[in-house]
């Protein structure tokens, strides 16, 4: 009983091969192109990856290729394939719509530069790497945009890998009870954002905003926190926030400017208070930044690596020193870095990164919410901090750790939950809103992308013609519709998502889905097909 679905050899391949190009005799050709492994996120990340990989490979197999499906658990995928260099042949996977990825550096540099940690496609192109390093240092936006676009063009010409779709997130909420639930597009509705969290307004006396979610928050110590924007950014203010237009707007800081390429002068908002009533001053900000630089908490390493320290200017102003010029600092670090109350931390003698702030009773920030209760794996409650400059118009927010989609759905129907943003598949959210009057659904198109990676250091992927053919045979449309149930958008060309607005190079010509064209490309490059319709390398 061999499992037939494991190998996807499209039965269509043969007749197409026969009719289009006839088939060459084996002696005219090289070796058969071996089976290709497709790694993708296993079902623990949801069935979209499986479905997408299946749909995409179904089309690719029309080029005479055979595929082996290789589901990989998320963590294994990340450690082995994304940063571990363990990509065998191909991978179909997604990268999330984190708020700081509105900056092009992640897309251009982190995923593509020589030696970048997340360059799992093993592509190394020196001139390109030079360009993407440089763009990051250009504090002048115009210059930076121009260089970023140039890099995109270069990338497009080489085509080492490509995005297939952009993810559409969604949120569903109880519109009987809540209004002004705004979309955080193009960022997924991560907690800690203004939209929809802080803008939501209650329509009834139930003034607690219940978020029906999957898992627990694991810590209230921001130095130990893993997420980019996590829940605890509700408690601890950041200097800036990214809004739904992709702009970085003032938050705890009212203004910032590069006084030098490596020095940013930051002015704090006036009259801010911590939850215990103490005033927020530049001392607290400077203390926090210097502490972070000193301790180098591993969880924060990606964003603080370029920080050199901070120094106070006056009560509300201070300078942040960078190690190297970094234009992405504004979008990636300011909405991330937080302010700790110096008076609760300065005298702490233990390991600050490991401090159990809940047990110590020092979950004290200056954010729009105050910590109230945490029942492990069950519920978190944050109370509105009325003195905050952007306090929401309701009394508090709850995060229900329900652990499974079905319960999230039930919570939304029964009214226990007011909003659901993730975990529940977007299609299911949309279905829910169609079925229940009190529920409203909003799509959140994002820059999160499903990428098709090729092992650029291994044949046949070393051959530009082969890559081109694979690109042409990539059915973005099918992946979006069948893999993502329509809740994805076929991605544009180049590494940078279209949603990044000005950073996106819209001049790159769209490559249409074209199997016949792809076969022609292969044929012209000397490839051929045997009598079984299998693709063979050109004869050497």
């Amino acid at each position: 009983m061999k499992l037939s679905t494991r190998k996807l050899v499209a039965p269509l391949a043969l007749p197409i091969a026969m009719s289009l190009s006839g088939f060459a005799f084996a002696q005219d050709l090289g070796e058969r192109v071996p089976d290709i492994q497709i790694a993708y996120y296993a079902a623990d990340m949801g069935p979209m990856y499986e479905q997408s990989a299946r749909v995409l490979s179904e089309e690719w197999s029309k080029l005479g290729l055979s595929f082996k499906m290789q589901p990989v658990q998320f963590s294994t995928f990340i450690s082995n394939i994304m940063v571990g260099g363990g990509l065998e042949d191909m991978a179909v996977f997604t990268v999330g719509a984190d708020p700081d990825r509105v900056d092009p550096t992640y897309w251009l540099h982190d995923l593509g530069a020589c030696g970048a940690r997340r360059n799992g496609a093993k592509w190394c192109d020196e001139p390109y790497t030079e360009m993407v390093r440089k763009q990051r240092e250009l504090v002048n936006t115009e210059e930076r945009v121009a260089l970023a676009k140039q890099a995109q063009q270069h990338f497009y010409d080489v085509m080492p890998w490509w995005p297939a779709t952009n993810t559409v997130y969604g949120m569903v909420w109880n519109s009987d009870k809540w209004e002004n639930v705004t979309s955080p597009e193009p960022v997924a509705a991560h907690e800690g954002l203004i939209d929809p969290w802080l803008s939501a307004k209650p329509k009834t006396d139930d003034r607690w905003f219940d978020w029906a979610h999957y898992e627990d928050v694991t810590t209230y110590n921001p130095m130990a926190e893993e997420g980019a924007v996590g829940w605890i950014r509700f408690v601890y203010d950041t200097f800036a926030k990214n809004n739904s237009k992709g702009e970085t707007i003032p938050w705890a800081a009212t203004s910032w400017e590069f006084v030098e390429p490596t020095t940013v002068k930051i002015t704090l908002r006036e009259n801010m208070k911590f939850h215990d009533g103490e005033a927020v001053t530049a001392d607290d900000a400077v203390f926090t930044i210097n502490k972070v630089v000193e301790l180098q908490p591993p969880a924060m390493s990606s964003r603080i690596s370029n920080l050199a320290g901070a120094e106070k200017v006056d009560d509300l102003t201070f300078n942040i020193k960078l190690k190297t010029p970094d234009a992405s600092f504004i979008t990636t670090v300011l909405p991330y870095a937080f302010i700790l109350p110096e008076h609760h931390w300065a005298n702490y003698e233990g390991d600050m990164v490991a401090r159990d702030v809940v047990a110590d009773g020092v979950v004290v920030g200056s954010g729009p919410f105050k910590f109230k209760t945490w029942r492990v794996n069950e519920v978190h409650e944050l109370e509105t901090f009325k003195d905050h400059f952007h306090a929401p118009e309701y009394d508090g927010v709850r995060r229900l750790a329900l652990g499974q989609a079905d319960a999230i759905r039930s919570a939304m129907i029964s009214g226990t939950g007011d909003i659901a943003t993730m975990v529940l598949p977007v299609a299911a959210m949309s279905d829910l809103a169609n079925q229940y009057n009190q529920l409203e659904f909003k799509e959140i198109p994002s820059h999160g992308s499903m990428l098709v990676w090729l092992n650029n250091s291994k044949a046949p992927f070393t051959d530009p013609a082969f890559r081109k053919a694979m690109r042409m045979a990539t059915s973005k449309e099918r992946a979006a519709v069948e893999g993502w149930l329509g809740f994805a958008i076929p991605a544009a060309e180049g590494p940078v998502p279209r949603m990044l607005g000005m950073w996106y190079n819209s001049d790159l010509p769209e490559i249409a889905f074209d199997i016949d064209g792809a076969r022609k490309v292969l044929e012209e490059a000397g490839y051929g097909w045997d009598s079984d319709g299998r693709l063979h390398y050109p004869k050497k």
Binding site: Q73, P298, S302, A354, N377, S410
Partner: protein, 321 residues
């Protein structure tokens, strides 16, 4: 007696050590990387090294193992990678939550199974009650526990709306031990508890029934009948004797079922230790998963020990050697 208990205890310690060792190496050879989540967010190589060191994941496997054992002997199971605090601090409330559905569920399941099993075992051989009893028990035994959970939720929550659909309580600020004694808690407890009972009962019923059937033809039952005591009393004698083999099965089964309750916890969104174990495994939180696993294994070992001792209490014929 004392020598026997000591010997059994020594054996138990050996078994626990072996299981701990197996688990340790299993988690260490996992291909997954506990830093993966951070890596995706751009954890630097030095920071990763630092983290691994902090988590006791550097050095040779053997060194790690020795350190791990030494810590366990001091009752230190390490800090949860994710929660950043001692695993027991994380697990303790979850264990209590699990016990809330497990203990009453299993006890009621066992009691109900014993009573119904006696009834079916005492029914006329080949009669309707016996046949229906056996058939239903066998079929219910074949229902996977998540199907039980889904069915209960669909019928009693979604359709009839009698019980809440998830969780252990309404969202709110009730914390501490007092919350366990609220009507709201009991309301939430009902369905998962029923699920555990339904899950655990049939096997008890069938075992009890076999025991009663075996015992009812024994000579002593005839004498009890001849004494003219009420039928229920006669059945009690058969049941009382059938309980002996049931006990040896029951205790390990209790422990095993507690371990199996993870599925029920997930279906009902019950914040228990089993659900946390699944989360911990999927998030590579080794210390947490290892401690949860250790706990379950110890429970099974202790249950076996308890079964031995209780058997001795119930059966006057047993002499400990």
């Amino acid at each position: 007696m004392r020598a026997y208990i000591l010997r059994r205890l020594a054996q138990s310690v050996l078994v626990v050590w072996a299981v701990t060792t197996i688990m340790f190496f299993m988690f260490r050879v996992m291909p997954a990387d506990p830093t993966a989540m951070l890596l995706e967010r751009g954890l630097s190589e030095q920071a990763r090294e630092k983290l691994l060191q902090e988590w006791g994941l550097t050095g040779t496997l053997w060194d790690q193992y020795i350190a791990y054992l030494a810590n366990i002997l001091q009752g230190d199971f390490g800090n949860s990678f994710l929660y950043r605090k001692p695993v027991w601090d994380v697990l303790t409330p979850l264990i209590i939550n699990t016990l809330w559905i497990a203990v009453p569920g299993l006890l009621l399941g066992a009691a109900l199974g014993a009573v119904l099993g006696t009834a079916v075992g005492w029914a006329r051989r080949g009669g309707k009650l016996e046949r229906m009893g056996i058939f239903l028990a066998t079929v219910i035994r074949g229902v996977p526990n998540f199907v039980i959970g889904i069915a209960l939720l669909t019928i009693f929550s979604s359709t009839l709306g009698w019980f809440p659909e998830f969780g252990m309580g309404d969202p709110g600020d009730r914390t501490g031990f007092a919350r366990y004694f609220t009507l709201e808690f009991l309301h939430h407890l009902a369905l998962p508890l029923i699920a555990v009972i339904i899950y655990f009962m049939p096997e008890n019923l069938l075992l009890m029934r076999s025991g009663v059937v075996e015992n009812r033809t024994e000579d002593y039952i005839e004498l009890v009948r001849a004494k003219g005591v009420p039928q229920s009393r006669v059945a009690w004698h058969a049941a009382r004797n059938s309980m002996l083999p049931l006990i040896t099965w029951l205790f390990p089964a209790l422990a095993e079922t507690i371990a199996g309750i993870v599925v029920i916890e997930i279906v009902f969104s019950w914040p228990g230790v089993g659900r946390e174990l699944v989360f911990a495994v999927s998030r590579q939180d080794y210390p947490l998963a290892q401690a949860a696993f250790f706990l379950l294994a110890v429970m099974i070992v202790l249950a076996n020990l308890a079964a031995d001792l209780v058997y001795g209490k119930l059966d006057p014929r047993v002499v400990y050697k």
